[in-house]
Amino acid sequence: MSPIPSASQTVGPFFNFALTTNVDLGILAREGVPGERIRLEFRVTDGDGAPVPGDCMIEIWQADSAGRYAHTTEFGGFGRLETDHNGCCTFETLKPGRVAGLDGSLQAPHINVMVFARGLLRHLHTRVYFAGEPANAEDAVLALVPEERRATLLAQPGEGEPGTWRFHIRLQGDGETVFFDV
């Protein structure tokens, strides 16, 4: 019998001093890295609509502007931040390019997100897509999401704030964000 993957357990409330001390993990795009720079602001709220402050950690994993998951380029593609007292955190990164999907298709630009928190026994997976992106219409993963829930996966551009995108993670309840079983 092959080994069974170890069970997940919650990250708990006290991970910060170990996991999120390096604020550089909020800055993915350094000077000179080609691509469209964006500020990606997350806000995390619970089933009461209350912010999930401090005891939540967001990790992102994304391709570079050419759609490559880069182990070789300047762009590491990984970010990790804790939420602040408003349940928010902001990554400075690049808008990703289109990544190869299945069967030779291309996926729409997206950023993979993992959510860890006190109260989450298993971390959650979701994806940030970009509102108004024409390629969203042909994305095979978005197509698996019931149409009425797709909007939960779309980051919205900040009004009057070029390059800023906002993504609201509603853990539970009305407008609950779509999470993926990967």
Binding site: P5, A18, L124, R149
Partner: protein, 234 residues
């Protein structure tokens, strides 16, 4: 493209687990939508933003003076679902001190902080997937989940493995701890065998004579290396 298998039923906790109070307003109500594994899920970060320091895996040497408590070795192997070692992957740990208190501003447990214990460490697995920490045995501590609730002594673990799919955050427990069967977080895992696999075992071969007891904790990450991801091209 090869899909990694999904974990067997019951081997992972459900987020919707009523006895763990913090889940009540945080666990999603909608079922997660299953998606195929693409490059996005099968690749993952090589996490090495700052280099590992020489004493990062020795939590007893983070200050000039030694910490209070029982010194222990915690070591084992990280393997994939084929039983092959996962080399060169980051293992991060964090824990309470011997009195059951974290060095965290949010921890109000009236137990002493230890000025000589920080409680966080990390290491990268070797070519066969082995890792090793020297630390002190953490204390149990009360939490407010329910009346007279106590967490069993535990060490938090965070691992990456080969891709997003293999990301794991878990907790390691100690053998023969009477608090384990009472703990809602442990009991969120339906399968008894899966719960037991989070309990380390005392191991005399890891024990350092005249210095520290050894505990073995083996970790299995999702994924099989028999995938087309030896050389990601794009």
């Amino acid at each position: 493209m090869t899909e990694y298998p999904r974990p067997p039923a019951g081997s992972q906790p459900d987020n919707d687990h009523e006895p763990y109070r913090s889940t009540h307003r945080r666990a999603p109500r909608q079922p997660a939508i299953r998606i195929p594994h693409t490059l996005s899920e099968l690749t993952g970060p090589i996490y090495g933003h700052n280099p590992i320091g020489e004493t990062d895996n020795d939590l007893t040497r983070h200050f000039p003076e030694p910490p209070q408590g029982e010194r222990i070795v915690v070591a084992g192997r990280v393997v994939d679902e084929d039983g092959r070692g996962v080399p060169n992957t980051m293992v991060e740990i964090w824990q309470a001190n011997a009195a059951g208190r974290y060095r965290h501003s949010g921890d109000n447990h009236p137990a002493p902080l230890d000025p000589n214990f920080f409680g966080a460490g990390r290491v990268v697995t070797d070519a066969e997937g082995h890792y090793r920490f020297l630390t002190i045995k953490p204390g149990a501590y009360p939490w407010r989940n329910h009346h007279n609730a106590w967490r069993p002594a535990h060490i938090h673990f965070s691992l990456f493995g080969s891709g997003l799919v293999s990301r794991l955050v878990t907790q390691m427990y100690f053998p023969n701890d009477p608090l384990i069967p009472l703990d809602p977080i442990v009991n969120s895992i339906p399968d008894a065998g899966a719960r037991e696999r989070l309990v380390s075992s005392f191991d005399i071969s890891l024990t350092e004579p005249e210095w520290a007891l050894g505990y073995r904790f083996e970790i299995v990450l999702r994924g099989r290396r028999a995938t087309p991801f030896e050389e990601p091209t794009r």
